[in-house]
């Protein structure tokens, strides 16, 4: 049945694949959920069992990339394929900033979402990937509104805070979410008067290096034209509830789960906390008896700040 349906799909000229609506649609289907970093098919199964809405297939989690150093690249196809074969939920994978050939390979493998990620070593210091021509949707990190809008203008279907990956420290993600939200609030205050408004829109567009139409659309809607998720430093159910209350629409958890003492229990608890982020009674219940969280790092002691990559 499945194969006949696939051929049916490709024969139908009325079926439009890879449209922006279809790409953004998957991002919207992930809202309210948790996307977990996994490096093996066993971890992927634990994530799916815990109720993850998707997994990020990696060769190394950010905490290990940080520790081991060297050039961090796209995971080998066999690592991603093993995870694709182990679970039925969407599978994401990372490429280096600007590395469109890595993205072409992931698209050929049928990866569901590509993360153009500062966690890997950047491949291009000038350009991010032109994401429009790809049929697979992209997620990109942002520290502030300008960065988010530049990525959206390049075709990103989903924005996440960068946070400081692999640290188990939420402070950087908090800074990014608050920056994006307060800059959005400023745009909502745009004057109604047409001449003054055009003037202001032009100035903001110039500052962020994006078209005026995008600024006008964001000012009118009062929010980003794609979902905003949180990533970087989430280690506890409370962290997940915290960033959801700050306006994140879903969370990515990297090293926080599989670098903790009891990943299955912690994964469950973080999913429960993300769903019930406004209910302190449930948050209390799921925060008990999780074992040790990942140790984490103070940002001032870091040699490499991943959030500074990308522009």
């Amino acid at each position: 049945m499945a194969s006949s349906v696939e051929s049916l799909n490709s024969e139908m000229t009325s079926h439009k694949t890879g449209t922006f609506r279809v790409k953004k649609g998957l991002a919207e289907m992930l809202e309210g959920g948790v996307i977990m970093d996994v490096v093996t098919s066993d971890q992927a199964k634990i994530a799916e069992d815990a109720g993850a809405v998707a997994v990020m297939a990696l060769e190394r989690v950010p905490a290990d990339i940080r520790k081991e150093g060297g050039v961090a690249r796209m995971s080998p196809p066999e690592v991603v394929e093993a995870i694709q074969n182990a679970v039925s939920i969407p599978v994401m994978a990372k490429v280096r900033i600007g590395h469109f050939a890595e993205a072409q390979i992931l698209q050929a493998m049928g990866v569901d979402f590509i993360d153009e990620s500062e966690v890997l070593t950047p491949a291009d210091e000038e350009y991010h990937i032109d994401k429009m021509p790809f049929e697979v949707p992209f997620v990109c990190g942002a520290n502030n509104l300008g960065e988010a809008l530049r990525r959206i203008n390049e075709g990103a279907a989903l924005i996440r805070s960068k946070g400081e990956a692999g640290t188990g420290n939420i402070v950087e993600a908090t800074r990014h979410l608050r920056a994006i939200n307060s800059e959005l609030a400023e745009l909502r205050q745009m004057p109604e008067s047409k001449t003054r408004r055009i003037d202001l829109v032009a100035r903001v567009a110039k500052r962020h290096r994006v078209p005026m139409e995008l600024i006008e659309a964001v000012a009118k809607a009062g929010k980003l034209p794609v979902p905003l998720f949180c990533a970087g430093g989430i280690a506890t159910p409370a962290d997940a509830a915290f960033v959801m209350q700050l306006g994140a629409e879903a969370v990515f958890v990297g090293s926080g789960i599989f670098k903790s003492e009891n990943p299955a229990v912690r994964a469950n608890a973080i999913v429960e906390a993300t769903t019930n982020y406004k209910d302190p009674d449930i948050l209390l219940k799921v925060s008990r008896n999780l074992g040790e969280a990942m140790l984490g790092e103070e940002l001032a002691t870091l040699k490499t700040r991943l959030a500074d990559r990308g522009w």
Partner: protein
């Protein structure tokens, strides 16, 4: 006023329910770990107008193929549904769907890692098909669609659902 339902207490406040898209295995898991599963089953059985889109359709189906072995489904509409039947995201698509019940102008159906209805029972009314497969079905007050009307600005289907729900609930000229 729409209410987001995460608990049995929130379910008590509503007259009709939309179960939107999302990851069906996650929705199933959260239903099982909350107090919602029994109360939701009961409320749908007692005739609450309910519409499931994509993952919601999977949850309302009577039989599920390619789901997890522990995945809950409520059997509220007699359809056999295959999860992720088109394949991965790369096969997700949009297409014009003819739905006579809302007029001659086609509806833009957005299908994201969508399920397929492989079989619909004789008591199920098929309101729309695409490539000869049912994509919008109704059995009494229960609706199921494999596409996502919530991803477009076209509200015709929602209006029809609310109109029928109002009739079903005995609210004259009103919307629940």
């Amino acid at each position: 006023m729409p209410v987001a339902v995460r608990t049995a207490k929130e379910l008590e406040q509503i007259d009709c329910l939309i179960i939107p898209g999302g990851e069906s295995t996650t929705i199933s898991k959260m239903l099982g770990s909350s107090d919602l599963l029994d109360s939701l089953t009961e409320k749908i059985q007692s005739g609450m107008p309910t519409w499931g889109t994509c993952a919601g359709m999977i949850l309302l189906a009577s039989s599920l193929l390619d789901g997890r072995s522990d995945q809950h489904f409520l059997g509220a509409i007699n359809i056999v549904v295959r999860r992720n039947a088109y394949g991965r995201q790369i096969a997700s698509f949009e297409a014009a769907v003819d739905i006579p019940a809302i007029g001659s102008r086609p509806f833009l159906g957005v299908f994201i890692r969508s399920p397929i209805v492989e079989k619909a029972g004789s008591e199920v009314e098929v309101l729309a098909t695409l490539d000869d497969l049912p994509v919008l079905c109704r059995q009494g007050p229960v609706w199921a669609s494999s596409f996502h009307p919530e991803l477009t600005d076209d509200t015709r289907l929602h209006q029809l659902f609310l109109k029928e729900a109002a009739t079903c609930l005995g609210i004259p000229n009103g919307q629940p």
